[in-house]
Subunit: 528 residues, 2 copies
């Protein structure tokens, strides 16, 4: 019985195999690596947990420059303890990034493992324990779990126990898992199959404002064949997952205008233009209630879904039935399409509407303006700039004069319809095709590491600015997460389920020990 | 030079004559009555103003039962001083209404003059003087006018001076004008042409909750051929106006539902239904941005505009050009139709929209619900009940399950689209046809009273529950207002421009002295 399979709402599972010819592979098998690393781990659990505890005890909000430097230096020492070359990368005004490097004998390919060591700011009033004094609990806090003394780790821990601390999941435990993977492989005599680099960012939770500068300045030192992102959680069924991309995002505000003062809806209704009606009409012309975007040309740039992607989507566990029940939904958009299939399409989300007053505060009056907050989720090959252009073209086709600031009286008087468009910033999607040799190799290694199903996700619905890596470095990237989905990421009482740390260790060790071998074979194999 | 013509924004004026054959009329001419009443007034200005001052000094909020009774008794005494039979009408839980009656020798028709003696509650912190200590000013407060001692009235007042007090305009000065009209006619030897009744309501500003009970209980004593409403202001150009109806009103709330918790718009956008999109789509299907209501059958009950009404509308002064400039409008709804023409149509107003957040508070999330506040302005022959039915039928035709309370999870799960409809209460329009003999007679008498244009309004855009009179008593009604439009009605520093009191006196006296004669002729005249 797999220890990973503690699914909360798995109703059915599908297994998909892409048919990689295992017989042709060299190097250790997946089960060998898993077994050896597991034996190492069982012998070193207290050591591993204490190393994590020490790292978690360092406050790590990016704006706390003194402590963030302590984190960076601590991680440099951790890397050096493994014989890696480690240094701090610096860009003016930013916490340092930590770069580590460890070459493998005879390896021809280099993989960068990415994680960030900074964490979200905390509201301590909402935490049950101090965010930077890691606490061990014998289960889930919200389910009434009790605190357990750290001394107990010497005599063994239950893998369902959890560590509560800021960054316990996001992202300090992946850093420990990665470095302990080196220890485990070395301890068991399993050689690295790829050259390793580590890039640990120090201001991801502050929005990565200097990321592009780091990548551009240190482009040569970051040279690699693949980036593996260790950020984010496994699938909500607790199955391992590999993610090949993320949707981009672009936010926008749209405001329409009526008379410059609030008017009596009886004396002026259906004579003085109603900005709420105008907003409703223009929004309705842009998006239907099945999720379809009606803006002319909107889908022209959308990369069509590939066969591999469709196969992967069809194979994902059914989360939809449980979600519909949990969320009390009588239908879903897209006429019943799978969630991940819908996510392969761009989305136009109405995040907010505001005009006048509703409910008990409503009054019979024509508001002076009406505003909508929108966000667009972009898929590969779309850009925020182009989407913004398409929206503006659409508004103009409806007869609107488009402005970027609040219009003055003369502007309002001299145009029949005025709309203000704000925002438009964002970033594009990142999508590594699932049928690249490297994609197939990663999938195969992760699949082999576990004796259970793997969820492969072509595109995450949410957005991360991974495009910066793709744009600056021109390298493929995949996300191979390890932490539990219910980790209270960004919130109070962030936590790590210990089994996820053990699984992460086996998974990252397998990638280090096997990826170079599997990749060599798949790269030259004509079946893909 | 007419003293009424102090128009602030009159750009052009039109004169309309309906061709009543004056040669056939008996009784005094309009100019005779005006001249006689004016001479009376000039000789009694101080007396009239002091009578108004005494009435204004009585606090008159409907909920202040002790003072409201003092007002009622004071008005009974005022009526009795004119030889009218006066009494208090009582309905449990309400301030009394005052009924007065004064018969005319040989008159065959009875007219009820309506006004209300209660006033809006006051926020004294916003008043420049005490609301119930009437103050005389030598002009408009907001334009820097100074207070003038009341003693000055003995030596004559400038008609542009104003009296500041709660109910100076709304409605105590019409009561004084009506009773002084009796005095003036009697003083100048001009007989009444109709039997007079007066109905002075005591809780109009509290929403008239007992009005229907009063009318039903005292139906016999209120028997009449016409009700004349002395409430409301003259036209904003300061021209006199006669109004034949008011739009009805019905308020409604509409709420759509998405998932029962706020969802990340990236992970769930274009899969989980977005209630803001649903709201926008359903609202857009109901009303276009020219004011046209798209609900099937909505116009079936609408009474078509008559030739008289169209002629009257075309003859109204152009207020639209000034309004468009003042309100910074680049267009108006109805493709450039006149304001009053648009008001002859029902209106569907979007008073408010609310969902999620906009502007700086916006976040990339799918809201759980979206709400609109609407009001419908109804025209004659529509009912709130039927309009509500049509809206609900429309929502059902879009596939919505319509509920009246917040739906529970099971209701949401078992229907594809759920909408909550609240409200639906209101009252219908009241519209006296402009080509009734009585309508033409009133118009003629008021027109004759002044040597300037008269604005005739088929329907006011705003709403008043005059339907109660029409429904209970089955009698035609017209609104013949006298007070200035810029009277700060309902607000702080309510005031009366003294010239409007003088004009009101001449106008109501003319109606009393001449309506019976003009009406007799028009009633039998085939030209209408």
């Amino acid at each position: 019985m797999s220890r990973l399979l503690h699914a909360q709402s798995v109703l059915c599972l599908f297994v998909v195999s892409l048919g990689i010819p295992l017989a042709a592979q060299s190097g250790p098998t997946g089960s060998t690596v898993t077994q050896e690393v597991r034996e190492y781990r069982i012998a070193h659990e207290a050591e591993i947990l204490n190393e994590l505890r020490d790292l978690l005890a360092l406050p790590n909000v990016a704006s706390d420059r003194e402590n963030i430097e302590r984190n960076a230096n601590h991680i440099v020492a951790m890397l050096e303890a493994r014989g890696a070359i480690a240094r701090l990368l610096r860009v003016e005004g930013s916490p340092p990034a930590v770069l580590g490097q460890l070459d493998a004998d005879g390896a021809t390919r280099t993989v960068v493992f990415y994680a960030h060591y900074d964490g979200q700011p905390v509201d301590t009033t909402r935490w049950s324990s101090s965010p930077w004094q890691p606490v061990l609990r014998d289960g889930v806090l919200e389910e009434g779990a009790s605190q357990v003394s750290w001394d107990v780790v010497q005599s063994g821990v239950d893998p369902e126990w959890r560590v509560y601390s800021r960054s316990a999941s996001d992202d300090k435990s992946p850093i420990v898992a990665l470095l302990r993977s080196i220890d485990a492989l070395r301890d068991r005599g399993l050689p690295l199959s790829v050259n390793l680099k580590f890039f640990f960012e120090g201001e991801e939770e502050a929005g990565s404002p200097h990321l592009r500068s780091f990548l551009e300045r240190y482009r040569d030192q970051l040279d690699a064949d693949l980036w593996i992102f260790c950020d984010g959680p496994v699938h909500q069924t607790r199955l391992p997952q590999v993610v090949y991309g993320v949707r981009g995002v672009m936010g926008m505000g749209i405001t329409t205008y009526g008379a410059t003062r609030v008017l009596h809806s009886g004396h002026y209704g259906n004579w003085s233009p109603n900005p709420a009606v105008m907003l409703v009409q223009l929004l309705a012309s842009m998006r239907d209630d099945e999720g379809r975007i009606l803006i002319d040309g909107f889908y022209d740039d959308v990369r069509p879904i590939s066969d591999n992607q469709r196969t992967a989507i069809e194979a994902t566990p059914d989360v939809e039935t449980g979600l519909k029940d949990e969320l009390s939904l009588g239908r879903t958009e897209g006429e019943g399409n799978r969630l991940l299939e819908q996510i392969m399409d761009p989305a136009m989300n109405f995040d907010g509407l505001a005009a006048g007053n509703v409910g008990a505060a409503a009054r019979n009056a024509i508001p002076t303006r009406a505003t909508a907050a929108l966000d667009f989720r972009l898929v590969p090959d779309q850009t925020p700039e182009r989407v913004r252009e398409l929206v503006i073209d659409h508004l103009r086709s409806l007869g609107y004069h488009v402005v970027s600031e609040d219009p003055d009286a003369e502007t309002l008087r001299s145009h029949e319809r005025v709309v203000r468009v704000t925002g438009g910033a964002g970033y594009p999607a990142t999508g590594t095709p699932m049928d690249l040799p490297v994609s197939l190799a990663v999938e195969q290694v992760v699949r082999d590491a576990f004796d259970q199903e793997l969820v492969t996700v072509p595109l995450l619905g949410g957005s991360l600015p991974l495009n910066t890596f793709e744009e600056v470095l021109g390298v493929p990237l995949v996300i191979v997460p390890m932490v539990n989905h219910d980790n209270n990421q960004h919130g109070a009482n962030e936590n790590l389920r210990i089994q996820n740390l053990w699984d992460g260790l086996e998974m990252y060790a397998a990638l280090m020990a096997r990826l170079g071998h599997v990749w060599s074979i798949t790269a030259s194999d004509p079946v893909f």
